[in-house]
Amino acid sequence: MNRREFLQVLAAASAAGFALDSPDLLAAQGGERLYDLPRHGNVHLLHFTDCHAQLLPVWFREPSVNIGFGDAAGHVPHLVGEHLLKAFGIKAGSREAHAFTFLDFQQAAKAYGKVGGFAHLATLVKQLKVSRPGALLLDGGDTWQGSATALWSKGQDMVDACKLLGVDVMTGHWEFTLGDKRVKEIVDKDFAGKVDFVAQNVVTTDFNDPVFSPYTIRDMNGVKVAIIGQSFPYTPIANPRWMVPDWSFGIQDENMQKTVDDARAKGARVVVVLSHNGMDVDLKMASRVTGIDAILGGHTHDGVPQPVKVKNAGGITLVTNAGSNGKFLGVLDFDMKNGRIADFRYKLLPVFSNLLPADADMVALIEKVRAPYKDKLGEKLAVTEGLLYRRGNFNGSWDQLILDAMIDVKGADLAFSPGFRWGTSILPGEAITFEQLMDQTAITYPHSTLTEMTGEQIKTILEDVGDNLFNPDPYYQQGGDMVRVGGLAYTCDPAATMGNRIQDMRLRGKPLEAGKKYKVAGWAPVAEGASGEPIWEVVARWLRDRKTVTPRQLNAPRLIGLDRNPGLA
């Protein structure tokens, strides 16, 4: 059956009201065998990352724009759609093609059902821990932020869920936006004796004293395994610095090398970095630091089916990235022979909710944390006629909706929305609930703003953010997407140097004037003392007024020089 035929079958099955997770259809697609993963070797690491507090199953559309430049052009993770399928030998139209790409998203979503959900993830983790005695569960961070309940409980719902899930080791990024005191409270109290929070690259600003343990060593089936933590290096830049005023981050290659050497000297035979660098930074770090067997990465939300093998002066380091929103669980098996790694196997398992029964204990916990907020979460604000999603280097339809709402409500000439990579998707015809709006906006600095800016200032911001995304050296990137722009048309030449990437800016057809002032709406200011109505209130009001939201017209920039880039569908 080729892809076209398969989609026709699916469409027919949908129309006929077939249950698409029926055993027959699953068997035809190999669904039942997806989680039948035989144990290999004796060192086992289970890895999830960037779940962004999504306790329940979600829709999540992978990006159609994930551009790589220079050395990264055309290489993992900068492959989308058909290019990704080809690189990893994934069959078009298959369940895995749906998991890893945006192709035929709406149809395939209906066919294969929702992804993720902690109750389903818990079942998968339990199953794998049975087949892999001693396996460690690693959480790459961005776990305590991204939902209404995580925001309102100050991360407590996720802390409790992760303890129940059996997380052994974690590192962080958005966790820090709960503030340094709250992070310390969780690490020192909730996690004490249960979860190791590790980060070799977080130190005090005054004397560079470590804030967390840099690594932990665990004995697994007779092998000493070191897990080194690498938190998001640019937390105090990409997020409010005032929330962690006494902590300094950074990439810290040299300290990473020292930490690896230290762990080896203490007897570690396997050294793994649990990283929130983002994949491009991980790939560069793997080429510079020696002695790391694998970097299990996150931050950039890239669902990468197989590791990249990076050569360095000491050998080869595997680099993975495990997607986002609870959609994947990475399984890395090492076979140790005579104290050395003989070989490895890796699989990034998509978590299909309808293939994995919900774990009863996790269901009970999730229901308990949601109970106090149930009415508020369930409020139907409007129905969307178009697909809503966020992920991609430029405007997704969810951010377009937020931008359109801000311009309307605030009476702005143009609007900016941050290039966050988290946020779930909504299918056409579905209701937008308050909870789903919070999936796009739930942060601890949600203020909406209206500011007068000159044309020159607007250009400076676009250039600055553009460089954070498109700088040819990954160590100078921050791992977010391009700031979303509403109202202002522009041309972007990503391969140009800073100051020259953004061209031909036009507002309602007229060129933007450098010296003229414009009213700019925005949200999520990182400065201390910022104020303004929370963005979710602004957007909720706009949605309630409309009741039905028409498909959004994406204000994507005209791109120069990317005709054949496989990071662009």
């Binding site: 961005d142 990024h173 958005w174 005090t204 005054d206 004397f207 004293d209 998001f232 640019y234 105090p236 830049i237 990409a238 997020n239 610095r241 300094s248 981050f249 950074g250 990439i251 040299e254 931050h299 941050p418 290039g419 966050f420 990579r421 988290w422 400076t460 911001i461 600055d464 953010v465 460089d467 954070n468 700088n471 050296d473 160590y475 100078y476 921050q478 791992g479 977010g480 700031v483 800073m498 999520a524 200011p525 990182v526």
Partner: protein
């Protein structure tokens, strides 16, 4: 956590990290070591070329034996921590320049015989710039290395 170090630093916080280095007895900055050797012309230079000329370092050889540690992206442009360690034998002084700053020469340290040639300072960077470390050896030769430090408006990440 060494509370003594911390309170000591607070007590002299006006001079920041430089004071910490002094208090720890690691190094002695030029201006403290000998007030009459203070190179006013160099520190007052308004461009990097003039500053380099004033310290006699117009031509320097690139060297991998100078370890310049600076963040790729500054967390706070007002206090960017920079460390320079020279592995070049007979190093007698280290100078640090922020090439795009209005007054590019940020610091210069002399090392008396036997002192380990390492310095740490916090410099203010107005904009994205290369920072350049220059090492002078006892025979009057200069060596250099540099690194780009980005100063960004922040926000929007991840």
């Amino acid at each position: 956590m060494d509370m003594f170090r911390r309170s000591l630093l607070k007590g002299v916080s006006a001079s920041g990290a430089l004071a910490a280095a002094l208090a720890a007895g690691i190094l002695k900055p030029t201006e403290v070591l000998a007030a009459d050797e203070w190179n006013r012309a160099a520190f007052d230079s308004k461009d990097a070329g003039a500053a380099l000329k004033a310290i006699g370092a117009s031509s320097a050889t690139d060297s991998k034996d100078i370890v310049l540690t600076a963040p790729e992206i500054a967390e706070n442009g007002a206090v960017v921590p920079i460390t320079v360690l020279s592995n070049i034998p007979n190093t007698i002084s280290i100078a640090l320049l922020s090439l795009k700053n209005p007054l590019p020469l940020a610091a210069a340290f002399d090392f008396s015989e036997g002192a380990m040639p390492e310095m740490q300072v916090r410099v203010r960077l107005a904009e994205t710039t290369a920072v350049r470390a220059l090492v002078k050896t006892a025979d009057g030769k200069f060596f250099a290395t540099q690194k780009e430090v980005k100063v960004t408006v922040g926000g929007c990440g991840g």
